[in-house]
């Protein structure tokens, strides 16, 4: 049995998540990744914004910071730059990270600041009652898209890669074992890492869209996910409406904190001459 207890704030349970919610699966994957990384609890800052996923920090025994909607990465930027030895992890949702927080997300990726961002993508605003988000697929319903969503959806991982993230991977709550493997790789990566975790929201996404219960959603993830190695070989038509999973991007780029330290050392040396 994995020692989850070691990381949990037991007196904060029961959690607020609905029955069948994927947030708990992502949380457990995150804890397994942290345990494997051997990073001490004191050296981890877990930062979130607002939403279902952003309630994660309250349940775990780290330095935890629950911020304002969309701003988690901006708060995390200050934490990391002011205390570079902290391992900064951001947990956020599709609305938090790519709608209200979209600007912070792309600019942190561009800077390649060393942090790990886990995005719980459930295609919907769960906390506020099922409104359409930037990742709600076209045609699907939300409480603010009662006739079906007419907006195209963001591909969160593609956005992260385009903006400059060093490491980008995607998995689903059905593929939980891969999820903690990717989060672990993200924790070890020097630079901006993004792990997109596809999570079921049976309450606010499955119900209005008649997608069945959480077991049906898990089956859907199983049947409709294709490993990135295969996705690269098949036609666009064959992977339409499928979820590509795996390590989508892993590159070496100069990391912001290191670049800043180099600059600071150079300036301080010049001044002393």
């Amino acid at each position: 049995m994995f020692p989850y207890e070691k990381y949990l704030r037991r007196n904060k349970f029961p959690h607020i998540w609905c029955t069948g919610c994927g947030c708990g699966i992502v949380l457990k994957a995150l804890l397994r990744a942290i345990e494997k990384s051997k990073i001490a609890k004191d050296d981890i800052a877990l930062v979130s914004g607002i939403g279902c996923s952003s309630r994660t920090p309250g349940y775990v025994d780290f330095n935890t910071l629950h911020t304002t909607h969309g701003r988690a990465i901006a708060f995390a930027t200050g934490l990391k730059l002011a205390k570079k030895e902290l391992n900064v992890i951001v947990v956020t949702g599709d609305g938090d990270a790519t709608a209200i927080g979209g600007n912070h997300f792309i600019h942190a990726a561009r800077r390649n600041l060393d942090m790990t961002v886990v995005i719980y993508n459930n295609y919907i605003y769960g906390m506020t009652g099922g409104q359409a988000s930037p990742t709600t697929p076209a045609g699907k319903k939300g409480s603010t898209a009662p006739y079906g969503n007419i907006e195209p959806a963001f591909d969160v991982s593609a956005l992260a890669i385009a903006a400059g993230a060093s490491f980008v991977a995607r998995s689903t709550c059905y593929h939980a074992v891969q999820l903690d493997k990717y989060i672990h790789k993200g924790l070890l990566k020097k630079g901006f890492s993004v792990i997109e975790a596809m999570t079921p929201c049976p309450t606010y996404y499955a119900r209005p869209n008649r997608l069945g219960n959480v077991v049906d959603m898990m089956h859907w993830y199983k049947e409709n996910s294709i490993p990135v190695e295969i996705a690269r070989k098949v036609s666009e038509q064959e992977k339409k409406e499928k979820i590509t999973i795996g390590i989508l991007h892993d590159a070496e780029r100069p990391e912001y904190c290191e670049e800043y330290q180099k600059l600071s050392a150079r300036i301080m040396k010049t001044d002393n001459k």
Binding site: D61, T64, L65
Partner: protein, 377 residues
């Protein structure tokens, strides 16, 4: 203080240099006229001092980043002007709620909206007090000269650290851009305060403990005290709470911690009030014109004095109320449509005369003198 320490400086430069002297080592900001020189100066100076400068993607992020940095125990600051100050309001509220010390410099320009980017204004007085939603404590200082900007930037950090609140330094375009001779004070001439840090065992630490002082001792993030910080109403443990008793306790304490120490914070200077039957209440760059107007009026034999404010919030209601018992006529010159005049009216309990400009022009001594002559007849 020695004459050979004299330097020529703008208010923006004085603000940046004083912040460094106060121990500020983290700045996050976004370019905006007329405050940009503060960021430019610190982009050059902070790496020299081993501190961190970062230009963020917007003002929302700048405010968020300084709160994040301050949570690790590093004194942090941002600088902006009206439109950017509007964007910062969201996280200024967070800093109030989570009791994170930080300093926000707002170099006021004409508003609303994009307004008059290069011209002075004092129209953010109420935004500085009430800009973020909810009842919240705030401290706002408003210097008039380059030297005052230096001194009050240091004091702003001291207030932020002492009371665990966001503090606003409200400059205006004139104070920010005027080049003046200042004699830079030496280290022994001012006090630098650091936040009170807990010495408790991490097991027993309550981040929002109810203490006699109403100001909970701080623990730096990542120093072995693993606690939770949230913008939600919370209890002593730092975890969300919506029990009415706990919510009431939190919000009354947050506001009380400024009210009960108001005498340490409120600061003003009076001149020529002994025999005065008219008083000019002034602040910021407008106070400079007010001093000249008062001197000119005295030369004409008019009995007028001045009440010059350094701190706008908390507002000196009691002091002005006391003054109003012996002086009947008040004049408030300001580059807005009466934001402070309204508060003076509340304190004095009768109408006050106003001199207002909102056209981007500064208020001249003659305009104030004219108002003094008008009320004296």
């Amino acid at each position: 203080m020695r004459e050979d320490d004299a330097r020529l400086m703008t208010g923006n430069e004085a603000c940046a240099e004083a912040a460094l002297v106060a121990g500020m080592r983290f700045f996050a900001g976004y370019p905006i006229t007329p405050s940009s020189e503060i960021a430019e100066c610190l982009a050059r100076r902070l790496p020299q001092e081993g501190g961190t400068f970062i230009q963020m993607e917007d003002e929302l992020a700048s405010m968020a980043a300084i709160i994040g940095a301050s949570l690790t125990g590093v004194k942090s600051m941002t600088a902006t002007s009206g439109p950017g100050f509007s964007l910062m309001q969201e996280n200024i509220g967070y800093a109030s709620m989570a009791e994170v010390p930080c300093v926000i410099v707002n170099v006021q320009r004409g508003g609303p909206s994009t307004g008059l980017p290069t011209l002075p204004s004092q129209s953010d007085v109420m935004q500085a007090r009430w800009g973020t939603h909810g009842d919240h404590p705030v401290i706002v200082v408003a210097p008039s000269t380059v030297r005052e900007t230096y001194d009050w930037t240091i004091k702003a950090f001291n207030f932020a650290e002492r009371f665990r609140v966001p503090v606003v330094v409200l400059l205006d375009e004139i104070v920010a851009h005027v080049n003046e001779k200042i004699i830079v004070p030496t280290r022994g001439e001012f006090e630098v305060i650091d936040r009170d840090r807990t010495t408790q065992d991490p097991k027993d630490y309550l981040p929002y403990a109810l203490t006699d002082s109403d100001i909970p001792p701080f623990a730096d993030f990542g120093s072995g005290y693993r606690y939770n910080v949230t913008g939600l109403s919370h209890d002593e443990t730092g975890f969300p709470a919506n029990d009415p008793k706990k919510v009431d306790l939190l919000h009354r304490r947050l506001n009380r911690k400024i009210e009960r120490y108001r005498n340490e914070i409120v600061h003003y200077k009076t001149e020529l009030l002994e025999d005065a039957d008219i008083v000019v209440v002034a602040y910021g760059s407008t106070a400079r014109s007010a001093y000249r107007a008062v001197r000119n009026a005295r030369a004409l034999g008019l009995k007028v004095g001045i009440f010059k404010m350094f701190v706008l919030w908390p507002f000196p209601y009691q002091e002005l109320d006391k003054l109003a018992r012996r002086v009947e006529k008040f004049i408030v010159p300001e580059m807005n449509l009466g934001q402070i005049a309204h508060e003076v009216t509340c304190a004095a309990k009768h109408e006050v005369a106003q001199v207002n400009r909102i056209d981007g022009g500064l208020i001249t001594p003659d305009e104030i003198l004219e108002a003094i002559k008008n009320v004296s007849v």
